[in-house]
């Protein structure tokens, strides 16, 4: 049978699993992360993302003219306008990574980076509110 041949062949090959972040789940995640910070353990890196990957948004404050076009097209209302300064604030916790704001900005003040490890306990934490 075809499947038996495939199975026996796969028994001798390396598994297809990407071992990010570690081969087996650690007994205590917090201790694991601490040891990584101290440098005792190394995190298996994730697979590299391709170019033009839509990750966390980056905002160039100087270029922004305050035209509010990005607010109009954001499907999730993740962008907030600050009227006093005529600049915007972007809440990554609401962002759906569609990059429509990037397309519509007339001065190219917005761009998508390749950061995707964005979890946090607080959705208004500093890493998740992009102001500059």
């Amino acid at each position: 049978m075809e499947i038996v041949k495939i199975l026996l062949k796969q028994l001798l090959q390396t598994p297809a699993t990407n071992k990010f972040p570690a081969k087996y789940a650690p007994k205590s995640t917090i201790k694991f992360l601490d040891r990584i910070k101290k440098g005792e353990l190394k995190l298996t890196p994730p697979i590299a993302v391709p170019p033009r990957f839509r990750g966390k948004i980056s905002y160039n404050r100087e270029k922004c003219t305050g035209c509010q076009l990005c607010l109009k097209v954001c499907p999730t209302k993740a962008i907030e306008f600050i009227p006093e300064e005529k600049k915007v604030k972007i809440f990554v916790a609401r962002c759906c990574f569609c990059a429509q704001c990037v397309d519509i900005c007339p001065v190219d003040a917005l761009a998508m980076t390749d950061e995707f490890m964005l979890s946090s306990y607080d959705k208004y934490a500093d890493e998740l509110v992009v102001t500059k």
């Binding site: 049978m1 026996l8 598994p15 297809a16 699993t17 087996y24």
Partner: protein, 338 residues
């Protein structure tokens, strides 16, 4: 304790101590082999899989969880069934020769008793399923009953065929394991009989996944169809006992196949006479034999096939496997005449 006499009796202390040691060894190796099974199956499917000690962690985790008893079920029966299942699975270990030694309670029970005792863990699962008051468990219990009735036939045919052949060679009771060990089936038959014995071995290898409820015969616990089937309402300590009993049953069934068809020991072959090294060498050889049989009949079959429907599984056992077993029996008979 005199290992060499044919009719021996043990003191009560010896029985109790031996049973405790066997229970611990059975649990340890049952869980270890389950871990090896998962690791090998994972590598065959191209993934890493859990570490080999994962079943031990599973038992520890289950014992720490709450045991929920469904409202509509019969509470005493619901909690008694896992105990019965575990106790009888361990009991089976005392009657089957493991680790290359004689069975602990050899003088007290033989193959016929094993045939009857093998029914009880499955029956405990069925009764536990019915006592769960859930439609999924009812369907699962019905299916398990049908499977149980189906595989008894080829199992009986295979065992009786071997015992019948041995009875023509010696006067000692052929159902006792030490007789089977003294007169292995392969040494008693000519070439035609070898084909017959292979047919019987094939029958037993197909009965094994049905007995221990693994794909393609895990119909009673089908995950995707009836959401866990028999065991759907079990949790916590009760589920831990069923899980442990399941792993021990797998070990027991494969040991039975090894005891019937490959009762050879390594130490006489390589000439180790002293007791302690012989025990170690025999135990390791036994574990290797169990691993090989488990690989073919449980692990490989489990990963290479889809699950059968109950009508198909019951047809396979009652008609196809029984026919093959009977063909094996006839070939052995023909070999004897010729």
């Amino acid at each position: 304790m005199d290992w060499s006499s044919n009719s021996y009796s043990l003191t009560t202390v010896a029985i109790v101590v031996g049973s405790i040691i066997l229970a611990l060894l059975g649990a340890f190796f049952g869980l270890l082999y389950r871990g090896i099974d998962r690791k090998l199956a994972a590598h065959m499917q191209g993934r890493i899989g859990p570490p080999i000690i994962q079943p031990f962690r599973d038992i520890r985790k289950l014992l720490a969880k709450e045991s929920i008893i469904p409202d509509g079920g019969l509470s005493w029966l619901f909690q008694a069934c896992p105990f019965i299942c575990l106790v009888v699975s361990i009991l089976l270990l005392t009657y089957i020769p493991v680790f290359g030694q004689r069975a602990l309670l050899e003088g007290y029970g033989d193959l016929v008793l094993i045939l009857y005792l093998l029914i009880i863990p499955s029956l405990a699962l069925v009764v536990g399923g019915f006592a769960s008051s859930s439609p999924f468990a009812t369907v699962g219990a019905q299916r398990e009953m049908v499977i149980m009735m189906s595989y008894e036939f080829p199992l009986a045919v295979a065992i009786i065929a071997i015992a019948w052949r041995i009875s023509h060679v010696t006067d000692i009771n052929p159902f006792i394991f030490s007789t089977v060990a003294q007169y292995p089936i392969w040494n008693q038959v000519g070439p035609v009989g070898v084909i017959g014995s292979l047919a019987l071995l094939f029958t037993l290898l197909v009965v094994t996944p049905g007995e221990v409820a693994k794909v393609p015969f895990d119909i009673a616990e089908a995950e995707t169809e009836i959401a866990g089937g028999l065991l759907v309402e079990y949790s916590g300590r009760n589920l831990a006992l069923f899980y442990l009993a399941d792993t021990i049953r797998a070990f027991v069934m494969v040991s039975l196949v090894v005891a019937l068809f490959f009762p050879y020991n390594l130490s006489p072959v390589i000439g180790i006479g002293a007791t302690a090294p012989a025990v170690i060498v025999d135990s390791l050889f036994f574990l290797l034999k169990v691993f090989l049989v488990m690989f073919i009949s449980v692990i490989l079959i489990r990963t290479a096939m889809a699950r059968f429907k109950i009508s198909q599984a019951s047809y396979i056992y009652i008609i196809a496997m029984t026919l093959i077993g009977l063909v094996g029996l006839i070939l052995i008979h023909v070999d004897m005449i010729v």
